[in-house]
Amino acid sequence: MTDGGDHGDHHEEHGSELSEMQLRVRALETVLAEKGYLDPAALDLMIEAYETRIGPHNGARVVARAWIDAAFRSALIEDATKAVQSFGLINRVGDHLIAVENTPTLHNMIVCTLCSCYPWEVLGLPPVWYKSAPYRSRAVNDPRGVLADFGLTLAPDTQIRVWDSTAETRFIVLPMRPAGTDGWSEEKLAALVTRDCMIGTGLPKQPNEVA
């Protein structure tokens, strides 16, 4: 994070908003803290968690484990919250996590057309594009066009399933394990698992893309 640095909204934000928002948010923090509702040190701690501990590396471990452990894979599809919890892979995850599995004939993609619902505990904070109007508007009626924006083309007969996260259920895509990874360790496999392949806007890296 850089104070006063560039920002990521490609279309929407204007340069002048940055300093204005800094001032407005500072005023909010000062007033809400002085009123006694919150301790700024608690804000620091929460921010640090999202910058360091809570990110897609957590989801990548879940996926890698599912690739090497058939029992875990079944448990994950059955009840992802329970499976992630009981295998102690990552920090506790809350309720309603659902894992959806890609197959040679089916590709899953996750969106929240109404706001920005996203499985924070396993993927961290959503990227700007996930929360943007182009993604939210097009994912449900032109997913192949959206995938093309990510440089991804699927076979024309691949079934595409889009999950609109309209409630408190949260979705993570379980992508297919890349070929040529037989005998790989969980750690090595996790390095192939990108954030986007767990949203469904990408595929895992190929073995030759990692050292």
Partner: protein
């Protein structure tokens, strides 16, 4: 608000999706503070997640489209803090307090943080059996309430199939208007892409929504 600018599924004209390589968690410090402030107020019970979403949806369309993500969060926070009496607009404008705060049972402290990082459960005890079962054909209602709902516009009035029953959950449409949790059964409802978007649609497309039982009515096979 139901038919607001936030309900974007199927709209045209917003252009390409532009992924950013190596995107950081936050693009400026104020974004991080804004996220944490919003979560803090939620954590002390100032408002529920559904009331917070309704707060974003009530931003005027021009502001909604013209603001960045955390820009919307900041404006929502200002509006809700003032509307619910947590601070005065004069105090936010001045950046300092002029009077005592509203008494709250909880304060967002360092000790509260770990709990906040794990999602809460929205499961609630069912008061009636689920009306639908997996495989049932259902039609989504054609509703246009002026208050918060989670039934997107593109999925109203269409026939789909119950694919999964997700349990009985807090009903956002009720919570957002202060009418209590009113728990309802939640289903995954699957639609053929052509049902939603017409004959020219990619025949390989299927779309699902997570639909609360009051959004659904039975239909003949």
């Amino acid at each position: 608000m139901t038919d607001g600018i936030h309900d974007m599924g199927g709209m045209h004209g917003f252009g390409r999706v532009e992924p950013e390589a190596d995107e950081p968690a936050f693009h400026a410090e104020w974004e991080a503070r804004c996220l944490a402030l919003n979560r803090a107020m939620g954590a002390i019970g100032a408002w529920t997640i559904d009331e917070g979403r309704a707060g974003i949806e009530m931003l005027p369309p021009g502001i909604y489209l013209g603001s960045s993500y955390y820009g919307k969060w900041a404006r929502r926070l200002e509006n809700m803090v003032v509307a619910r009496g947590f601070a005065g607009a004069d105090e936010l404008a001045a950046g300092r307090v002029a009077r005592a705060g509203k008494p709250m049972q909880r304060k967002f402290t360092v000790a509260e943080v770990p709990r906040t990082l794990t999602r809460g459960s929205f499961f609630r005890k069912a008061t009636a059996p689920a009306r639908f079962t997996v495989g049932d054909r259902v039609r989504t209602r054609n509703i246009h309430p002026t208050t918060h709902t989670r039934l997107p516009r593109y999925a109203r009035g269409h026939v789909g199939v119950i694919e999964a029953i997700r349990g009985c959950h807090v009903f956002p449409d009720s919570v957002a208007i202060g009418a209590g949790e009113n728990p309802q059964w939640l289903y995954t409802v699957l639609f053929d892409g052509r049902t939603l978007w017409g004959d020219g649609t990619d025949p390989t497309l299927k779309v699902s929504i997570e639909a609360f039982e009051p959004y659904l009515e039975p239909t003949q096979p």
